[in-house]
Each structure stands twice: as C-alpha cells, then as structure tokens.
Symmetry: C2
C-alpha cells in the first residue's frame, strides 16, 4: 500500500483545523504541533504533537514525523526555521519566503527595493524619528511591531508625538512607522503557487476591517476590471518574487487612485475563508496541493455574490455554540465554528452566504454571524 | 464553555470519514466504533474506540461516551440496538426505523402493507418456492440475502431452478426472491428528516450500477418533472412512515411506466456523495444536523450538471493514491480518497465534476476516476 503523505503544521489554530477538511478527501495525514489537546485543530486531527513552537528541540522532534512542514501562523523564529531547513527538513513555504511575512519591516524594504508600491515607511526607535516622518507625511501615522502582531494587536494609530512616545515606551524594540494612507477600501489577493512555478489566484476580495480586525469579506470585490487585473498582477508578481510554495494572501490598500501593498501572509488567510463553501477549490486544499507539489485546483467561485462574516466573541463572553441552532435556521448559510474558548473580540468562527444578490447575501451572513457573536455596527457600509 | 456535542458512529468506514468533514465546521466531536486504527474514518477522527459492533458489551461501552448514536452501516444486530435504546441511549435513526433498512424482507413487507409499490417478492427457503414464484413472475428472478448484503454481495440473479438451488445451498437462512423487473433506469432519492418532522430532499439522482455495484451518479436525473415529483413524494412519504431521524436514501427502479421501490438505507449513502462538492449542504452535514435535531441546510445543487464516478480497486491491486496527481491534473474535478487498502473491485474513493454541460462533466469525471481505479466500460451509456 502506498504510504499516505504526512503534512506537519506548526500551530494548531483554526487554519490548521480547516486544513483537515481539505486533507480528508485528498488522503493526506496531518499532524499538528499544538500547545494543548484543546487547541482548535487538535480537536479534529488525530496526529497531535504537544510542544512549544518557540523551542527548536520541539520543532526538530515534530518535524521528523512529517514529509513536509507548513504553518498555521507567522510566529516561529526564522532562525529555527533556517536550522530545520539546513538539517534537511522540507519547509514550504521556505524559511526565506516565510520571512517576508514574518517581519513587516523586512517585507516593506524588500518590496520597495523590488519596485512594488508600498505606503511611505521607516524604522524608528525614538520619538524624534516619528516626528520627522510625520513632518514629511503628516499626522496621524501608524506604528507597528515588525513581528508578532495580528488582528490589530501591535498596531497603533498615533495622532501626535505624545501618543508616539507612549507606543514606543510599550515596545521592546524598533517599530515600523507608516503613513496612514486615505483609503477607498481594502482588498486581498489570494494566490497558490507550486514550487515548480505554476500559480493560481482566486477572485479579488474586499476585506472590511473594524479596529484592525477583519470583520467581513465581499466577493467579488466591487471594483472595476482594471483595478482587479492590477491586483491580480501584483499577487502573481509577489508570489514569483518570493518563490512562494503554498498559499499567500496579499492585503492591499485601494486609495481610489492606486493600490499599495499593506501586508502579506504566507499561509491560508482569513481573507480566503469564503473559498471553503464558495470556490471550486478551497484555499486549504490548494495550500496542501501546493506544499506537496501536486496540481492546483480550479479557483472559480460557485456564485455571483459571496459574503463571509467573522464571528467575534461577545463582550459577555458567551459561547457562539449557544447560538448555533439560531444561525443554522437560515438553511442557506454555512456556519464554521472553531471550537475555541469564547473571549471578547476573539475570532471564534465565520459564516458564509452565497447567491445572486450581493445585498441579500450580506444581510443573511450578517444575521447569522450576529446570532453567534458580536454584531457588526449597523452603520457599516 | 458550552460542551461540544458528541456524535458516536457505529462503524468507521468512508461514510464516517466523510462525516468528519461536516462535523469540523459545526463544532461537533465525532467518535467512531472502529475495528482497527487503520479504518478509513479512524485515520481522520481523534475519537476512536476500538471494538466489535457485533458485541453488545462493546456497543454499550462505546455508546456511553456519546450524546447521540448513529451508523456507518446496516450491520449491527437489531436486538442490540433495541437493548441500547431500552437502556436510555439516544439512537438516531431509531432501532425501529433502522430495521427497515437492515432487513430487506421486513422492508418489502412493511412497504407493501403501507401501499408502496415494490417489485413482486416472497420469502423462500427451498427451490420449489422459487419455481412457484417464477411460474407467476417469469425467469430470471433475483435471490437476495435479507440481511448483510451490499455492493452486489448476497444478491444472485438466477435463470432456472438449478441456479436457484445453488444460491439456496450457499445461504444460511431464508432468502428473498424478487421479480427481475425491466428497467429504464435506476434512481435514488435522498431525504434528511429531523425527529420533530421537518424534512428536506436533494434533487433526484440517476444511479448507474454495473454488476450490482454503483459506478456513476448523474444529477439531476434525466427524467421529466412528473417522474421527478413522484420520486420526491415517495421519499417524503417513506421518511414520514418510518419516522426517520437522519439521512435516508431510497433506491428506485424506474420501469419507464412507473417507480418501484428497490431498497432503502437509513444513513448517508453512496448515491449522495455528489452533495459534498455540489450541494449547498452535504448529506453528511444534514445527517449530523438531523440526528442532533438542529435546523436542516439548503439542498440546492451548485451547478446545472453534476456527475460522480466511484473509484473501484483495479484488478492488479494498485493503490488509487498512485494516480492522484494524474487525477488532480484536471483542476475542476474534486477527488475523494478513502484511505482504504486497495483490493480489486473495492470502493476506494470517488470523484465529482460539475458544470453546465452534462456530457462534458461526465467525461471529466470518468477520466479522473480512470486515473485512480478500474475504468468504466466504454460502452456504458
């Protein structure tokens, strides 16, 4: 009997959990490096290795069980990943392309060097540097931790020198300062690329963020064909430039005039969750296919209008599972719960609706998400 | 934190395996009663209980871990299921409705009693009874084991008394004799029903069998609206009559003039495998929702033409996984491998293609299935 391929995932959050849905039909065995047997992915995957992703020894012990190693998050130490690769482990994406996503300062520099349009930026350690940057680019500015931030954590919009001082005081290293560019909307491009080079992209997605947290996806993004093609070209060029193996999400600022690259993630990404229910091939399936160097699947959407709304923990700490039957009472909404402990503002699931009419689809997705978690502000566009 | 519901599945074959894909987004924990850790479902579900479904003690120990018990197959002893229910375990479907599917002779009698159209049938233990039946209904006749048969096993088409004698000699109990009715085609109706009563059905499916084994599904079945509505009505009436809780498949003979009920299965069924990739809600998701008495999901198909082809083990015993990258080279085909040991003629997976043109879709599904397993006879319709 042919040995089933084993894909090891560092981290056991909801991305690894959703990858299991794609691994089952492909006959791929997953194993996850989890911190606890109650981690989101550890609940649904038999191959659980308990350990600490911050420990090179744990990474080493974990990696020797897998044919290829990939990632649930951006947090492993780049030095550790380089060591694993040096010892002969197959990491996809590679440590080099992974570093693009891990270090926002490195990412900005490398993208700018290669001629990609990014917002004005600088590395700063003291208030004077922030002030000089703001003199040139205007207040407010955005201060970001180059590593480890997600869902708005580690990101501060500061209006003056005093606020900048506070943000720097809280940080344990240099920060990245960026111009706060005026936005028409935010977009995301999702690309899957095989090591050998062939790449596919899904339709461009509008991402709606509130307080730095992604709340809603709209597919296709309501943009013209020229902007759409520009976004897809950018995604393809970056995938090529970083020699991507796997799935990558490029988050873009659409200023109305042009596209600037905000961030990229070298893994399946929240902006692609709609692909599970509404694309011929999901981002998780194509991620597995890409890291195994297998042919990639079709990325055609299955409906004219698709909306995904994230389920965020309510302020009262209630469990989204309590609202599950209410959410399922709309028969056409696909509900995804992550099995995570409820905490206010935490991403605990998402819902996807698809159909012919964008407004109706949005309404249904928002209603189902509100049955499960914190409702979206009614004044949202 | 809300306790996650635990659904126990007796059996750990491919149906339980595919149920895991549906359990993950719903936040439902599965546990399976498996014979081996290498069983198809045991490879992908953390909750594995090793035991023998023929042992009441094992069933008892298994059942006490789950909130509700359901089934991967028709084989458990009806007395054991009655005992579990008597001891307060929640079985869905109930032992009574399960018995409809488990005992073909009982099924025929009960359906005929309630006025449903079935082929002429009788219970027989000796050749003389078969001859008398054939005198009234003509040769050939079909002899079936009332229990335990599947994929053509336990079913004999016999042309004369000598062949009937052989079949009876091989059997360890009474057989069911049936008229071999002339067919235009075979159809299947798939229904999900909640204990409280609400039911949904998927579009009627044409099932193409070769030597008693299901090879291909065509959705929607190429039949007129009157025949389609008749089939759906039959499915709804039977679900009601047996007080179904879960998913049920009704296999139908379409004689050209009318529909006769062939068999029914009280569980997700091969005839519904297309729903994973091509329906708003899969049969596995609605089975879980039904046995948990949760609202059922929408059964709308996601394309105008859908074809699923089963992957059967080749005569040379080769593993379908060897042909996986070849099958995936058609980006629009969804491939499902079951992780089972390859044996000639064994169901090892399936592929589904969807699109606008039925002929093109069939061609692609057949080509991908042929890359994985035994090709379909080219002369098939």
């Amino acid at each position: 009997m042919t040995q089933r391929p084993i894909v090891g995932i560092v981290g056991a959050g909801q991305l690894a959990r959703m990858t299991q849905q794609a691994a089952i039909p492909l006959g791929v065995d997953l194993c996850v490096l989890a911190e606890s047997p109650e981690d989101s992915a550890a609940q649904v995957i038999p191959g659980v290795f308990l350990g600490d992703y911050r420990s090179l020894d744990d990474l080493r012990r974990f990696a020797k069980n897998a044919d290829v190693i990939t990632f649930d998050h951006e947090l492993p130490d780049p030095e550790h990943l380089a060591a694993l690769a040096h010892e002969g482990r197959l990491l996809r994406p590679s440590p080099l392309s992974k570093r693009f996503a891990q270090d926002k300062s490195h990412q900005r520099r490398m993208l700018a060097l290669r001629g990609f349009a990014v917002p004005p930026f600088a590395d700063v350690t003291e208030v004077g540097q922030v002030e000089a940057f703001a003199d040139a680019n205007g207040w407010p500015v955005v201060l970001k931790a180059p590593r480890g931030g997600y869902d708005g954590r580690g990101v501060h919009v500061v209006a003056d020198a005093a606020q900048a001082h506070e943000a720097l005081a809280l940080s344990d290293g240099p920060l990245l300062v960026e111009a706060k560019v005026p936005l028409a909307r935010e977009l995301a491009v999702l690309v899957a690329r095989r090591p050998a080079g062939r790449a596919v992209a899904w339709p461009v997605t509008e991402t709606v963020q509130v307080d730095g947290i992604l709340r809603e996806l709209v597919v296709p993004a309501p943009i013209g064909p020229a902007r759409r093609d520009e976004a897809l070209r950018l995604g393809a060029r970056i995938a090529e430039a970083i020699e991507l193996a796997g799935v990558m999400a490029v988050e873009l600022f659409d200023t109305g005039d042009r596209l600037l690259i905000n961030e990229l993630a070298c893994r399946p990404h929240n902006s692609g969750h709609w692909t599970i229910d509404a694309s011929a091939t999901s981002q998780f399936s194509n991620h597995l296919r890409a890291v195994l160097d297998w042919p990639l699947g079709d990325t055609t959407p299955l409906a004219a209008a698709i909306v995904t709304v994230n389920v965020l923990g309510r302020a009262d700490g209630s469990d989204p599972a309590d609202g599950l039957t209410a959410a399922l009472s709309d028969p056409a909404v696909a509900v995804h719960l992550y099995g995570k402990e409820a905490r206010p503002g935490r991403k605990l699931g998402h819902v996807t609706a698809l159909g012919d009419d964008a407004d109706e689809v949005r309404e249904r997705a928002r209603a189902a998400a509100a049955a499960l978690g914190e409702p979206l502000d009614e004044e949202m566009p």
